[in-house]
Point group: C2
Amino acid sequence: MGRKRLQPSADGRPTVHTVAARAGVSIASASRVLNGVGGSPETVRRVRAAAAEVGYVPNAIARSLQSQRTGLVALAVADIGNPVYVAMMRAIEAVVAASGRQLLVHATGGDVAGEISLLRRLAHRYVDGMIVSPIRLTDHHLEAMVVSPVPVVVVGQLPDDAPVDNVRTDSRAGVGLAVDHLLATGRQRIGFLNGPLDTVPGAARDAGFRAALANHGITVDENLIEVGDFQYAAGRAAAARLLARAEPDALLCANDLIAVGALHALLSEDRRVPQDVALVGMDDTELAQMAFPQLSSVSLGSADRGRRAAELLLERIAEPDLPPRRAHVAPSLAVRASSLPPGAAPRPAAPSQPAGAEPVTTPMEVI
Amino acid sequence: MGRKRLQPSADGRPTVHTVAARAGVSIASASRVLNGVGGSPETVRRVRAAAAEVGYVPNAIARSLQSQRTGLVALAVADIGNPVYVAMMRAIEAVVAASGRQLLVHATGGDVAGEISLLRRLAHRYVDGMIVSPIRLTDHHLEAMVVSPVPVVVVGQLPDDAPVDNVRTDSRAGVGLAVDHLLATGRQRIGFLNGPLDTVPGAARDAGFRAALANHGITVDENLIEVGDFQYAAGRAAAARLLARAEPDALLCANDLIAVGALHALLSEDRRVPQDVALVGMDDTELAQMAFPQLSSVSLGSADRGRRAAELLLERIAEPDLPPRRAHVAPSLAVRASSLPPGAAPRPAAPSQPAGAEPVTTPMEVI
DNA sequence: AGACTCCCTGGAAACGTTTACAAGTCAGGG
DNA sequence: CCCTGACTTGTAAACGTTTCCAGGGAGTCT
């Protein structure tokens, strides 16, 4: 009779009611103690004891409903297997963690529908904000972002009038840096291994390549251009196709995965890198340093872009009414063994410094 | 006057109240229409219209509080930069997506405190369940898992009496496969590049290496063992150290990242692979196939383990009272160019088949 | 001694959904 | 004409927190 009824949750787990009843205090007092605000020593003791006895674990969902925030931030990328996103993620993680939040990553597989459904579902409040790096961009994306109740920051190109926070780099200019470098070091027939032209980065790189050649008064030889996926296997296959029909003395690749694939194709055919063919990748990921010889690569500042994106997101979370903002990160070129001039090195550099050492870098002015 | 007051949420966003008021129906009716259950044609029309006009987006947190589920599943891994986790993640994602849920990934950075805090925070109900692959395992981990209100599945070794669902592989036996292979192909002085011994995988591999040598009646030469991180740079450094003081004719590496680092070190010192030194990695990730020459690698079935873990998790979510279960995945060895017998290949294989083709595999019986 | 402050407490109202229940409408069959 | 059943609707109670508010006790200053 006398014993007060505890009130566990539906599935039998203790709630704040259970704890309060057991400690003989109100739920308000129990909640305060559990959050460490207020409470007399005696109350604190009793509530703590009760919580421990029943194994109380707060329900974060309920708390979020009340506080209107979850402390979670999401990152959606197309391909978690691409090291460029890993670098970006690490940078974002650092900023997000410093703000006391946690980062969750979702891989969309480049699937447009999945990406949008993610925007729809996550943005429905499970997270306090999200960073998206879509490689294909549809009107549905834009609409989902605009309608989203939580802040969204896009890493990558975006229509100029899109009212969405945005961090971008000039990958066209980045391609230009690589072309300039190859021509300057005596290469004449630059092959180009690109990703799909219907993607945002693929289109930008294509435009950049053509513009850069035009700058130097060179007419584009379509035989020297191959298109595949932004993947290792595709890069290897594309390089094999290109080598079968043309004799490039340099290969410029739309990302490092493609470049490593191309390296494999070249070595398989007994072509020496860089003596016979120079090789340049893009994104300057750890993969570029893992390859042998180490790959020259156009850095698009993925870590910087991630960091800036995270900062923009946190600022917007704090102040939702800011006007849409846009940040730029300048590309630069890291020159390594794979693109040394033909006569420069008798054999691919045998770097004695530990991996990660700073390569030669050609910065580009900020836009 | 007359105009009924709408009831937007605290931050001004429309709620179901707003929609209901605008459509002139009760919130119950509005909710039913929005969920597609019941409602007369006229009501449906009015509610739909109202929702569209005000741009209604349901609040998933509130819905979850009511329904006691979020439709989200989390995966926590130490190092998202390690391709082995990418493979695992892809497999998990497939299973999870098929169940209509979404997968979120969290990288803990191998940080024990962070991992536990994640368990604490996420498992407090933000997700319906989680898969964890801790590389260090403390009592706090175990306690956090046991106390967790949502199901947890562990990928990796676990104390036998831990009441937690678990998918494991026999990495000790996996190391044995590699040692057997190297000895069988005429190698005599096998160097071993391991990860930290205070990690679960590091300890298992160390034990496996010693046991395998003992099996063949070989005494361990500590000069042939190096320990570093499970990373590329550490592998490269460890290989350099080892090569400076010993003359191995084979290197067995605790994962593929270390192996690629070792490959770099070997090639930098003009050692030919596999003629001078055979190289074998572990995890059989895509990295093994990207390297040139392609790396032999012990497959620990990461994709299979991921798939099984996801299945176990979904089963437990459906039926929380199942007894703890344990699944095993057998290791196997993928032999590629990097460990061909010294005389077998004049130069590292130039595979004409596309990457991803099936390598020679030595299956091992299921435990 | 009275007024004032400070701290602690419990009741109750949020947060935005879903849903059990009861009440209402309407058509058709007896 | 009434009863039954199918269908729709609205009221209200959950879900588990946090927090506003008012009340009360103890102490301090005048």
